[in-house]
């Protein structure tokens, strides 16, 4: 995504913040238009299939926000996508095109499940933080590999991270088919994690767990890091203009390494959260393309933490809303995919169009 050229209104507070700027530039409006347009197309298709669009709409909204349970689900679906989006954006802001959040998430899940299933239960409440940190470390190390390969061998990070996604996915498959599968198991999954390692539920009667809070807090921390720390400003400078940054003495290699460490750690924690808060075990295929979803979320959110939160929330709502569509109106699951694909297409197209118009 090319940075748009903008100007703050005079009189804005000193702490200018690109996120707020992009949003005031009508980005929120774009999101709304895209959502409305895809909803319209989706409802048209539904009408063609013989379903009343209004009923479908109300079922979807109900399914996403209509009850405590619905809101809980929406947030649970939001969480992994937000984590991978944050992982993608911190790396991309440093100029490192990390498409590898999926693989880092997979490794993070492995990192979390090992202590959560193997350490003695007597560790009690320590088990949870240990598992989260272990997930972060696994993700970070996995994320470090493409950075090292780039700096050491000049290997293109797009291909390396893409390949490492597949390696990560098959590695998890290998683990749950073999080494991590408890004897006598009926499924390809690890043993259940210790109770103490589970992320606490936040709202009774819902699936909402502490992971959602971790994700939002991570977004806030990242925002602080990007806009209020010297590290963040160096990272952005290095991403936007590596040659200028280098001449002013900014250590490019170290910045890339640390941004990928952070990126991998965030994705890793995202994977850990899925294990510790949702599945309670490592299951093959536990991620339904969270990595790619997250990348779309990051880019659609303008590579801003706040934007990522908003777009991820919206993806979460789409997920819970279309499940309601299926279960209440028995609409084929294909419709759910159409309804998640369309807004991405519309959003990106409108954004592109704005880019062209802005330059005419």
């Amino acid at each position: 995504m090319t940075a748009t050229i903008t100007e703050t209104k005079t009189g804005w507070p000193d702490r200018i913040n690109e996120a707020a700027r992009k949003l005031t530039q009508g980005y929120a409006l774009v999101v709304i238009i895209a959502f409305a347009a895809s909803l319209a197309v989706g409802l048209l298709i539904l009408a063609a299939l013989g379903v009343s669009p209004w009923q479908a709409l109300s079922v979807m909204i109900n399914g996403a926000f209509g009850s405590r349970m619905a809101i809980g689900d929406t947030l649970v679906f939001m969480t992994p996508r937000l984590m991978t989006a944050l992982a993608a954006l911190i790396a991309i802001r440093c100029g490192f095109y990390n498409l590898g959040a999926e693989g880092q998430l997979q490794l993070g899940a492995v990192g979390a499940v090992l202590p959560a299933t193997m350490l003695p239960h007597s560790l009690g409440l320590l088990l949870l933080p240990i598992s989260l940190i272990s997930g972060a470390i696994f993700g970070a190390l996995w994320g470090l590999i493409p950075a090292v390969l780039k700096l050491w061998r000049g290997a293109n990070e797009i291909i390396v991270t893409l390949m490492m996604n597949f390696i990560g996915i098959y590695f998890v498959k290998y683990l749950v088919e073999g080494p991590l599968q408890p004897a006598g198991s009926n499924f390809n999954m690890s043993a259940k994690i210790a109770n103490a390692a589970q992320l606490p539920l936040l709202l009774p009667g819902t699936r909402l767990h502490l992971g959602a809070v971790i994700a939002v807090v991570t977004a806030a921390l990242l925002w602080f890091l990007l806009y209020h720390s010297t590290f963040g400003i160096r990272l952005r400078a290095a991403g936007l203009s590596p040659r200028a940054a280098r001449l002013q003495g900014m250590p490019l290699s170290r910045l890339i390494l640390s941004s990928m460490l952070i990126s991998g750690a965030i994705a890793g924690v995202g994977g850990a959260i899925e294990v510790l808060g949702v599945q309670y075990r490592l299951i093959e295929g536990f991620s339904s393309d969270f990595g790619f979803d997250g990348l779309a979320v990051a880019l659609l959110g303008g590579l801003e933490p706040l934007g990522a939160v908003i777009v991820a929330l919206y993806f979460g709502a789409i997920n819970s809303g279309t499940i309601a569509l299926q279960s209440v109106l028995s609409i084929p699951s294909a419709m759910a995919m159409i309804m998640s694909g369309l807004p991405i297409l519309f959003l990106a197209t409108i954004q592109g169009f704005r880019l062209v118009k802005g330059r005419k």
Partner: protein, 312 residues
Amino acid sequence: MSFDPITISLLLAAAVRLSAPMLLASLGELISERAGVLNIGLEGLMLFGAFGSVLGLQESNVPMIGLLSGALWGLGAAAILALAVALLRADQIVIGIGFNILALGATSLLRQEVLNPSYNAPSLRAISIYRIPVLDHWPIIGRAFFMQSPVFYGAVLLAVVLGLMLKYTRLGLIIRAVGEGAGAADAAGVSVTALRFGAMAFTGLCAGLGGGYLTIVASGGVFVDNMTGGRGYLAVAVVIFSRWRPLWILAASILFGCADALQYQGQAIGLSIPPPLLLMSPFVLALVAWVLMGKGKTGPGEIGLPFLRGQK
């Protein structure tokens, strides 16, 4: 277990057969990428092609028309994608991701609405195998390279033609220019928009044909949801791995096919490596090779960037 000549010959033949859809899609993707468009939507394009070819086959009962229909569906789907990317400058990666999700849903819905579940395809042997006389009896490679679908021979020819085209023709020069310096091409009077649109349309045609090969040649005319199963993403990887050179794409596709084939040819001859590790092997192999090859060209300079005239 043993690696006797017959096993190797079977393995190679299977590798080549399994690589053909990827080869076709990769060659298509190559042209987009050379023109500066990273077309992540390849997976979706293949899926549309796969669906379209079965529809064509069902309506005509002629395998060739099925393949053609697949290519045209790929082309049509690519035109929509190109509208967003080349004309409206949508972000290439985001659009690709969204398109793939949409394609998965759309082809499934279409299948349920228009494909006849109990349709019985006619014999597809004519386009599944064409033995090239004499050569097909060569030991080891005869079966692999000279007992294939005519579509595969076509794909090999296409790789050669594309290689020559990119290197020696004006069209090739222009495609490369648009990918390496769109501003310069524009100033030289080339329509970057039209060229990228055309390149993406060609990608759609090839990916659609790849999808058609997958259903008609390799799956006997049956479409199932998500039948491409990641081949499109792999094809993108193949292009980058081959460093944007057509003949390397040919080699790399077969290499990926080999790892694929080894997975079960290995099982059949009693090689006991856990399947996930075998599935993983082409990626590890590609990664190691990529890293060993070291610093090289990192791809068309403007890949992934929208073209905006008058940008500093």
